[in-house]
């Protein structure tokens, strides 16, 4: 076990290096750089600037390979650099915006689980009946609805019909929990629908898979009633792969909510990335991708280890 964990942790290092390299290369390949955008902005506001001076000040006048290793050397020491546009360090910006995305992601997961697990069990219990088919078809419909379309409709029509709209100014949970939750309620439910559709199908398949095991037959043969078999034997054993799937979707939920954050004006990491990408704010993009990728990797690692720890049948490789 210890050896396996150590091997996995050591393998993370080249992966993180590659993540940085890929993002750095892609970012530098994007046409138009930060200097152009700063110079245009300054000239518009009536100031004269020397492009070369700006370039030197931002450290962009050295070859790209050197820039990369400079940045990496700083990043290893915990210094992610300063934003080109936001007069703040990248670490501070990420520390401000990552918790917002985390909150949205966690709320989404809670709603998704509240919907998917009971319904998945229900479907498995009523396998191949009309309620089962109906729930499954609805699950696929939820997966098929484009979330930005639904969000647009949900945001604008109630505003016109009943004068209701969620708060658009972000307030931290610790300042005003009620307003904060009001703001996150609709986006997290919308995000949860697609996630719940996917999870429901996995829960159903896994419960049915477990129901075919010998120990379930034994339990039935002993005369245990169906509810007990469902909850005590089938449910608990089928949750292991479901937990894995939930763990792996955490990364996507935190980084992939760009659209919802955009529509509901939630200042999360997705918003940050889109803005920074548009401005060519290299340190912010590189820093936040680094933090997010490490986050995803650690979650995946924990899920992997936990999976093998929970289920002793699985061998380490």
């Amino acid at each position: 076990m210890g050896k396996y964990v150590l091997k996995r942790v050591l393998l993370l290092i080249p992966t993180i290096f590659l993540v940085c390299l890929i993002v750095f290369a892609l970012m530098r390949a994007v046409p138009g750089d930060a200097v152009d955008s700063i110079v245009t902005r300054m000239t518009q506001s009536g100031q004269t600037v020397d492009a070369d001076a700006v370039r030197h000040k931002l450290g962009l006048d050295v070859p790209a390979a050197q820039q990369f290793f400079n940045w990496l050397a700083d990043a290893v020491r915990g210094n992610l650099g300063d934003s080109f546009f936001q007069f703040d360090t990248v670490s501070n910006i990420i520390a401000r915006q990552l918790p917002v995305s985390l909150e949205l992601g966690i709320l989404t997961l809670i709603f998704a689980n509240l919907i998917s697990i009971p319904l998945g069990l229900f479907c498995a219990a009523k396998q191949d009946s009309i309620p089962d088919y109906t729930v499954r078809i609805i699950a696929v419909i939820f997966m098929a609805i484009p979330v930005f379309w639904l969000a647009t409709l949900v945001l604008f029509y109630p505003a016109q019909w009943w004068d209701y709209s969620p708060p658009v100014q972000y307030v931290s949970f610790f300042e005003d929990p009620l307003t904060n939750l009001q703001m996150f309620l609709i986006p997290s439910i919308l995000g949860a629908l697609a996630q719940a559709g996917m999870q429901l199908r996995i829960v159903r398949t896994m419960v049915l898979d477990t129901m075919r095991q010998d120990y379930i037959r034994t339990a039935y043969a002993k005369g245990v009633n169906q509810t007990h078999v469902m909850f005590q034997h089938a449910f608990r054993n089928s949750m292991i792969p479901v937990i894995t799937v939930i763990g792996f979707s955490v990364g996507a939920l935190i980084g992939g909510n760009v659209v919802l954050e955009n529509i509901f004006n939630i200042p999360g990491i997705g918003q940050l990335l889109v803005t920074a990408l548009g401005q060519r704010d290299y340190p912010v993009v590189q820093g936040s991708v680094l933090v997010m990728s490490i986050f995803v990797m650690i979650v995946n690692l924990i899920v992997d280890i936990a999976y093998k720890w929970i289920d002793p049948r699985i061998k380490y490789d």
Binding site: I137, G255, L273, M292, S293
Partner: protein, 314 residues
């Protein structure tokens, strides 16, 4: 052919969804012939006089018109062409990438595998949406760019599944025999590994059909998508659909429904294909469908009882 027959007999809904997909495909191919107002020089005819006709009120414009007086039905059909091109090209490209990377990584193994898998891990860790945004801002808007941006990350990240399937095949007896007979690694991959993991590949490809349409629409929403002027459902929702939400709700609702229907059909079709191809889910004894099994058993009982009766009488 048997697969198609099975699809319609055992998975009727999957069959219906295949028909819907084929209808979309035909709409895309014959768009120029079908549409009420065909495109001239790459743009639909505009007439300010006919602007904002509601759907089902004027039969020369069955789905109404937009702010510029463009016929919405024609726009939707040309949009279907964009979506279908993206769907087909992305799925083919990403499937080929998955196959090549996954199979080679599994067959060669060793250092090659270790390095390739680190790259695959790295791409898998970067949030997909961000990778798409980066690639799109690097290449600019347009259909070919969108195909590459959508297909390459999913091709690399999805190869992991192909690799693990290929590894389980490559250690089997017939692959070892091929090695003993002097077959090269490439021969082994093409002749033995690929045919044996084909069901998984088809399942993956069918499953990813739907997500392409959705991703394209989301990218359009964030401002990175098809180039301006190309008819696309996602672009219609984000452009006029959102601006005219109260004056002309159909401009937002119709394309959204179209995306939902296409994605839904692709998902259901992918599910049906998976159920038919996945050996674990195949029919017969041990299939999930226990009710059907009961029926078959009851029939068998009944027929054996009939056969036994004359014997009992004799």
């Amino acid at each position: 052919m048997t697969l198609l027959k099975d699809l319609f007999q055992k998975k009727t809904l999957g069959g219906i969804c295949l028909v819907i997909l084929i209808i979309f495909l035909l709409l895309a191919i014959f768009a120029d012939v079908i549409v009420p107002t065909p495109m001239v020089d790459g743009s639909l005819s505009k007439s300010v006089k006919d602007s904002l006709i509601a759907p089902f009120t004027n039969w020369s414009h069955p789905l109404g018109t937009d702010r510029l007086g463009q016929d919405l039905l024609s726009y939707m059909i040309y949009g279907a062409r964009t979506s279908v091109i993206l769907c087909v090209c992305c799925t083919i490209l990403s499937t080929i990438m998955q196959l090549v990377i996954g199979v080679l990584s599994a067959v060669f193994g060793g250092w090659f595998d270790l390095i390739v898998q680190r790259v695959v891990d790295a791409v898998g860790c970067i949030p997909m949406m961000l990778l798409l945004l980066l690639m799109m801002s690097m290449m600019g808007n347009g259909i070919p760019q969108l195909i590459i941006a959508l297909a390459v990350p999913s091709g690399i990240a999805g190869s992991r599944m192909v690799r693990s399937a290929a590894i389980s095949v490559k250690d089997s007896g017939y692959c070892n025999n091929s090695d003993l007979l002097g077959g090269t690694a490439i021969w082994k991959s093409v002749k033995h590994v690929v045919p044996n993991i084909m069901p998984l590949i088809i399942i993956n490809a069918a499953g990813s059909l739907g997500s392409v349409v959705m991703m394209e629409a989301s990218m359009n929403f964030l401002g990175y998508g098809v180039s301006a002027g190309t008819p696309s459902w996602g672009a219609l929702i984000t452009g006029q659909g959102r601006e005219m939400l109260f004056k002309a709700p159909w401009l937002c609702i119709v394309p959204g429904l179209a995306i939902t229907i296409l994605t839904f059909s692709a998902c259901m079709f992918g599910d049906a294909i998976r159920d038919l191809l996945d050996p674990r889910l195949k029919g017969g004894v041990g299939s999930y469908n226990t009710k059907k099994l009961d029926k078959i058993l009851r029939k068998l009982d009944a027929s054996s009882a009939k056969k036994n009766k004359p014997n009992a009488a004799a």
